[in-house]
């Protein structure tokens, strides 16, 4: 049916208005994008100032003199403290307990063919080291801090390859007993996380359990496994388990909403909070205790041709130029480096400081 001139005018006006609105929206969006992209290599001074009053601390691995140690710093990178001071042992991959009182980590001990990767925990000031397991890696804490879950090494022979794991075990700090996860088929998992409700593990899988490569959620006391369909690796859960962050490719820190309450866990609303550009990579993203920030590692891509499998993102592999950074979890590319020496500063994790007066 032909439209009246009045209807045609109305339609034309609305169409023009919508077009204008869309054009403005596109321009505005691209403006934001350009602005964000421009900031990928420009640290935020405001953020660094903001972090000076943030109470929680950060622990990370670093190689300053040919030996790996764990360093503890304030959120703005001030007051670094060497927690380990062991010239013959390489301490790596620190994971603080939920209350911040302890830190579990892996230690590469021995040389050559005798080299092993073992798991320990200690007080957050570096005292009272206790071994958890031999030939084990990828530890994480239970939400109540009473246990440490970890993966056994797949082989006796040492490897830096992070996915060389087989079997998940849980160590009880009080009884010093260990039990295996009921799913005996857990294979090639790394970056374990235990959900705050205690019901799930979230981890990266590479070439195992029927997966090519991806981030999965699996039951803490069962055998159900779900693909979260997130492209990338090394996930980390927020304090409430309702958000996840991960390495979204080699150059981005992704954030998504996470639903672990439904029968089939899923991640939605995927976006990036940090974007770097080749050759500067982004790895090891970890939520701050209140979810306000993420800490992560930033550094140049490996360019050397080597067969040692020594990729800078692997624990214990030298990463010249890599530094620990903090980014605002609510914005894109609002970030600041908290280490600047580039001495393989990576695998950062937040240490909860409950007593704010003791924070500084």
């Amino acid at each position: 049916m032909p439209k009246s001139p009045l209807e045609q005018n109305w339609l034309r006006d609305v169409g023009a208005g919508l077009s204008g609105f869309l054009a403005a929206l596109i321009l505005f969006s691209s403006g934001i994008q350009i602005h964000a992209q421009e900031r990928h290599d420009q640290p935020s001074k405001d953020l660094l100032t903001e972090l000076k009053t943030y109470p929680h601390k950060i622990v990370y691995e670093t190689n300053r003199d040919g030996n790996w140690e764990l360093y503890l710093v304030n959120a703005d990178g001030s007051d670094p403290v060497n927690l380990t001071r062991t010239p013959d042992i390489d301490e790596l991959y620190p994971k603080p307990s939920p209350d911040g009182s302890k830190i579990c980590f892996v230690a590469d001990e021995g040389k050559g063919d005798a080299k092993k990767r073992n798991i320990y925990y200690m007080n957050s000031d570096g005292t009272d080291r206790i071994k958890v397991a031999d030939n084990a890696r990828e530890p994480c804490w239970s939400p109540d801090g009473s246990s440490i879950a970890y993966m056994k090494g797949e082989f006796e022979k040492f490897t830096y390859s992070d996915f060389a794991t087989k079997g998940l075990f849980i160590y009880d700090l009080k009884t010093k007993s260990t039990r295996q996860h009921p799913n005996k088929d857990l294979l090639h998992l790394y970056t374990l996380n235990w959900s705050p409700d205690g019901k799930w593990f979230v981890a990266t899988v590479h070439g195992g359990m029927g997966f090519q490569h991806g981030i999965i959620a699996f039951e803490a006391d069962g055998d159900k496994v779900f693909d979260l369909k997130l492209e990338g690796c090394r996930p980390n859960l927020r304090f409430d388990g309702k958000k996840i962050t991960w390495g979204h490719g080699d150059f981005c820190a992704g954030v998504a909403d996470l639903d672990l309450t439904s029968s089939a866990p899923k991640a939605t609303n995927i976006h990036n909070v940090v974007e770097t550009k080749d050759p500067i990579e982004t790895y090891h993203v970890i939520w701050s205790p209140d979810g306000k920030y993420v800490t992560y590692t930033r550094g140049p891509k490996a360019t050397q041709k080597s067969l040692k499998g020594l990729l800078p993102e692997f624990p214990g592999v030298e990463a010249p130029g890599w530094n620990v950074c903090v980014a605002d979890a609510a914005q894109r590319n609002r970030w600041a480096p908290i280490t600047t020496d580039g001495k393989s500063c990576k695998q950062p994790s937040w240490v909860v400081v409950k007593d704010k007066r003791a924070a500084r």
């Binding site: 797949e154 082989f155 006796e156 022979k157 490897t159 390859s161 992070d162 996915f163 060389a164 090639h188 590479h206 070439g207 195992g208 029927g210 997966f211 090519q212 490569h213 990338g232 690796c233 080699d250 891509k301 490996a302 360019t303 050397q304 041709k305 080597s306 067969l307 040692k308 499998g309 990729l311 993102e313 692997f314």
Partner: protein, 353 residues
């Protein structure tokens, strides 16, 4: 060692002769090539009908058969026998009971390798993609090549993490980077007391080392062709491709145990399909225009490395003997998850032994 005699493999004619069936009394090993042309003698005690062709492909180049026997074959056979006994290998004829197959050996690690003869071939394809069209003659020295793609059982045996998506001990290892493949080569070499070919710090390949390495692109194509100049190692009839390899049309979207399909004329399995195979060479689409005529080792540097043979998820086109693909080698990426990429190894024939 570079061939010094006229041992070029003239594909069409020799293939036709080979198919007629040259009878032999012993395994002729066309290695090493001629060294003293003035020792030429007439007559034949070795090949009936004085055929100037090695039964499995390489030409004798018009010299007398006695000369061929004395100068080429007897020393080669002797060296091979010494080599086999010295390294504890056993000549394994079961897969090549026909005299037309090159000999195979079983390595200390228990893997079968085919002794690929010295020879020449036309590398590339005039009707192929742009990077294949500069067809050129390439001569390749004799080498040993894995009869099968490297399996996941091998990674377990050497205590290397198996990155494969589809799991199974007899399945080819996949999701493997060039770096992981080279690491395997070195681990396998060390396990057998051989000198690793790859420098761990630089990934440079020492072609003189006696250990395992990835085949050069020329070696791979030469071995895949096995004396043919057709699209595939068995001819150009694409309808037969399913008899020789796993590809998108018949794979049911997964890899399959190695060795289930028919081998090529030299007894090599799965050269077409199953998993695409890493070569040692850096990829350069223009490399054929300036490639050395003898034992080319690929460009000095580049971002991607060569893959050959196509895979279980490839169309027939990608499985052609001359088809070239390229992929990031994994020097800076541990999460490469291409479940269509695997490899097989080659090894220098140990002349000194």
């Amino acid at each position: 060692m570079k061939p010094q005699g006229p041992v070029a493999f003239r594909q069409g004619k020799e293939l036709a002769e080979r198919q007629k069936g040259a009878e032999v009394k012993h395994f002729p090993v066309c290695y090493p090539p001629l060294r003293q042309p003035n020792e030429l003698a007439e007559g034949s005690v070795f090949l009936k009908k004085s055929r100037k062709v090695c039964p499995w492909g390489a030409s004798f180049g018009g010299r007398g058969a006695i000369y061929q026997f004395l100068v080429e074959i007897a020393p080669c056979g002797l060296m091979l026998a010494i080599f086999l006994s010295f390294v504890g290998c056993q000549k394994n004829n079961h897969a090549g009971s026909s005299a037309r197959l090159p000999p195979t050996i079983t390595t200390k690690g228990g893997l079968e390798m085919v002794l690929v003869p010295t020879g020449s071939f036309q590398m590339g394809s005039p009707g192929g993609k742009e990077d294949e069209r500069s067809v050129h003659t390439v001569t390749v020295d004799s080498f040993l090549m894995d009869k099968y793609e490297v399996t996941q059982a091998e990674f377990d045996r050497l205590q290397l993490p198996n990155p494969s998506h589809f799991k199974g001990p007899t399945l080819p290892v996949e999701q493997v980077t060039w770096v992981q493949a080279a690491v395997y080569c070195n681990a396998r070499s060390k396990a057998e007391g051989l000198t690793p070919c790859y420098n761990e710090d630089t990934a440079a390949c020492d072609f003189q080392a006696d250990g395992y390495r990835l085949p050069t692109e020329a070696e791979w194509e030469y071995a895949c062709r096995a004396g043919t100049d057709s699209d595939f190692g068995f001819g150009s009839d694409v309808r037969k491709l399913g008899d020789y390899g796993w590809l998108a049309d018949n794979s049911s979207k997964k890899t399959h145990p190695v060795g289930e399909k028919r081998p090529n004329a030299w007894g090599l399995f799965d050269m077409h399909g199953n998993v695409a195979e890493w070569c040692n060479d850096v990829y350069d689409k223009d490399y054929y225009r300036a490639s050395p005529a003898e034992n080319p080792h690929g460009p000095a540097d580049g971002k991607e490395y060569v893959l050959r043979g196509g895979s279980w998820k490839s169309p027939a086109e990608a499985l052609r003997s001359s088809s070239r693909l390229a992929e990031s080698p994994g020097f800076s990426d541990a999460c490469l998850a291409r479940d269509a990429i695997g490899f097989r190894c080659v090894r220098k024939v140990p002349i000194s032994q």
